[in-house]
């Protein structure tokens, strides 16, 4: 039974409008055209005879010609930056909205783990809300009654069961929502970023519950956390501005594509301005041409950084260091010299050139931006801080969520069993 196709999306497209005013007016036109049983080929309407409709003023393709196929047991990782069209695609799969072109076929019960506390009434108790939420998801009263204890136990709400939901913490609300939602035995399961909330222990509990559902369903999993994608998915679809940037079974190649879409921020220079960066060059071994100031290398490969700095005549010495930021703008690595301080450089004729090499760059997969920091010897004055001066993209096919992956020197000991 494992080869039955449960979701089939064929050239699905959906357009949206940027402006609310236009959106409402087009909505009105669409209502009129949907209600006209003899509606012909309207330029504003949807597909007729395989022809994709044209865009009206202020419209764009939120989902642009997307196709994929999922069988039972498959898990598709749907990734892309905010606004890439993921949520719209999910609504199309869920049947909440109709595509403007193409089609989506689903077989069996479709369930979505989205907005887990949707439909909760804050005044009513957790107990009452379990029944309401269950009804919303299509469970009968008896279904819920027979699973009630399991729901309460999973949600860990304890004494709060008969308290109004408005007194719950946000974590408790999500736990309760999740506990009810996993009682539905879906054939197609949509999971949208639900694991971004709750404490770590509950998150693992959720992942395990999802794992159980997954074995009997086709799953579409949306996350910005690549390790989760690595852990769960056997297919990946990377969306960028509505269209497919990558689709296939090679999850690590898909993740790399996603990471290369990491939007580069403009360079920014702060500090006193007494030192300026003339150039920054990045390279690896074997040597590689930079494209747009970005060098791409595998985990563990060497990285060399060269910079040319210019100072005003009054400055003769400075400390320089390089700081690496990940896509979430967290500092993850800083290249230092002795005593964990910046390297001291001397300026001749106001110019100085500096090289540094890391024999093994141990950062996990991702795209990193580099800042150059030049300060006075005792750090009392920052001469220059140049952000987003260059980029490094690391490829690593690991499901780890750690920032740094290091290979240790392992050995086996002998266990002495005392008799």
């Amino acid at each position: 039974m494992n080869d039955e196709t449960l979701v089939e999306a064929e050239n699905v497209s959906k357009k949206f409008s940027r402006s609310l005013k236009h959106s409402l007016w087009y909505g009105t036109l669409d209502l009129a055209s949907a209600l006209n049983p003899f509606s012909g080929e309207g330029d504003g309407g949807t597909e007729r005879e395989g022809r994709r409709p044209s865009l009206r003023s202020q419209e764009f393709w939120a989902v642009d010609d997307i196709s994929f196929e999922l069988k039972r047991g498959d898990c598709l990782g749907l990734v892309g930056h905010n606004g890439a069209g993921k949520s719209t695609l999910l609504k199309l799969v869920n049947g909440l909205i109709t595509p403007d072109a193409g089609s989506i076929t689903t077989r069996g019960k479709v369930a979505a783990l989205i907005e887990l506390d949707a439909g909760f009434n804050p005044i009513l108790t957790g107990r009452e809300n379990i029944y309401n939420r269950g009804a919303l998801l299509g469970l009968s009263r008896d279904d819920i009654r027979s699973r009630f204890d399991r729901i309460v136990e999973f949600a860990e709400i304890g004494d709060f069961l008969d308290a109004p939901v408005q007194n719950y913490s946000s974590g408790m609300r999500v736990r309760l929502g999740f506990a009810v939602a996993v009682q539905v035995q879906p054939d197609v399961l949509i999971i949208d970023e639900v694991l971004a909330v709750g404490d770590i222990a509950f998150r693992f509990k959720c992942l395990n519950a999802i794992g159980e559902l997954m074995s009997t369903a086709a799953v579409i999993f949306v996350s910005h956390t690549m390790p989760q994608i690595f852990r769960i998915c056997n297919q990946i679809l990377v969306m960028d501005h509505g269209s497919t940037a990558f689709a296939g079974k090679d999850v690590s190649a898909g993740v790399a594509t996603y990471q290369s879409l990491f939007r580069e921020s403009p360079e920014s220079v702060t500090g006193s301005g007494e030192i300026t960066v003339r150039s920054l060059e990045l390279d690896t071994e074997p040597s590689q041409a930079e494209t747009d100031g970005c060098v791409r290398l595998d985990h563990g490969a060497p990285l060399s950084v060269s910079a040319v700095l210019e100072a005003v005549p009054a400055i003769h010495r400075a400390r320089v260091q390089f700081l690496f930021w990940n896509a979430e703008m967290l500092p993850v690595l800083e290249i230092m010299a002795d005593e964990l301080k910046g390297r001291i450089i001397e300026f001749t004729d106001c110019m100085s050139e500096i090289h540094v090499t890391l024999p093994h760059l141990e950062l996990n997969a991702g795209k990193y931006s580099i800042s150059i920091i030049a300060a006075s010897e005792n750090y009392s004055r920052i001469y220059c801080r140049h952000d987003n001066a260059g980029y490094v993209q690391v490829d690593a096919g690991s499901p780890s969520g750690a920032h740094v992956l290091t290979i240790g020197d392992w050995s086996n000991g002998k266990v002495v069993v005392r008799s």
Partner: protein, 285 residues
């Protein structure tokens, strides 16, 4: 063991008659779930309302009572002089007001059925018509509670009990149907533009005076013409006639208006089902 065949759903652009057939099918097939869900929604909202209120049902009785007192006062003080069609004026007003309350509650329940749910309508798949069913249940309950007011009025003013009074609930249902049909018909456009609901509220203020609630149908003139065009007029006149035993009813027009509005309501429900994806699309996140 042979597993039951999985339900296949194809989501693609529908056009013309095909989308109507699809809507009718899903309304029919989804009815048990939608009805169950509507009942849950109704219980949920009612329980929540009552838990936040000390007076509960009093708030259902107060508006028709207040309207009646105002008109009785205006009449007594000779500020407005209206005829009463042969029955004590307070009874005349309260029967009209109760039927008006049913109509008004029904139209408003339809127009406000989507609003509170717009947040999760765009996220969770469920039979959306259940919101409408639950609005109808709510309007029916409110109307039933308000109609209790007619009983003390009949007793106080010594109106003899007529067997036709048992038909009064039929008039109440007819008022609900007239209101629901208008509300449902306007619901899709009212969901997009808030102007519609505001406009309706304004029009209903005039509507009150174009319905024989606080004064009888004029014998002639433009007001009479307008009032006879109002589908609620035969409902109010007939309902009042049944309850008080006067022969003021318009049975043919009553049946015509009720059946016509029931057909309009059914069609509007199908329209609503057809356009729901378009509405969700515009509801945003």
């Amino acid at each position: 063991m042979v597993k039951p065949a999985l339900e296949v759903r194809v989501n693609k652009p529908h056009a013309g008659l095909e989308s109507f057939a699809f809507a009718v099918r899903s309304l029919r097939d989804g009815f048990p779930h939608a009805a169950h869900l509507a009942w849950r929604f109704f219980l949920r909202d009612t329980q929540a309302d009552f838990r936040q209120s000390l007076l509960g049902y009093v708030w259902l009785l107060a508006p028709p009572l207040a309207t009646t007192f105002v008109w009785v006062f205006l009449n007594r003080a000779n500020l407005v002089r209206v005829g009463n069609g042969g029955i004590p004026y307070p009874v005349f007003v309260i029967t009209g007001t109760v039927l008006w309350t049913a109509f008004n509650g029904s139209i408003m329940a339809m127009l406000s059925s989507i609003g509170p749910a717009r947040g999760f309508m765009a996220k969770v798949q469920f039979p959306h018509e259940s919101l409408i069913y639950s609005g109808i249940i709510k309007a029916a309950l409110d109307a039933a509670v308000a109609s209790v007011l007619t009983l003390p009025a009949l007793v106080i003013y010594h109106i003899p009990w007529h067997t036709t009074a048992f038909l009064f609930p039929v008039a109440l249902v007819a008022s609900l149907i007239v209101g629901a049909s208008l509300g449902l018909f306007l619901l899709p456009i009212a969901t997009l533009y808030s102007d519609v609901a505001r406009g309706i509220q304004l029009i209903l203020r005039f509507g009150f005076f174009l319905t024989p609630i606080a004064f009888p149908l004029p014998a002639a003139g433009i007001a009479r013409k307008l009032m006879t065009l109002n589908p609620l007029t035969p409902v109010v006149l007939t309902g009042r006639g049944w309850l008080t035993g006067t022969s003021e009813g318009m049975p043919v027009a009553f049946i015509g208006a009720t059946v016509g509005c029931a057909v309009l309501a059914a069609m509007s429900l199908i329209f609503f089902k057809v356009v729901t994806p378009h509405l969700i699309e515009r509801l945003g996140e």
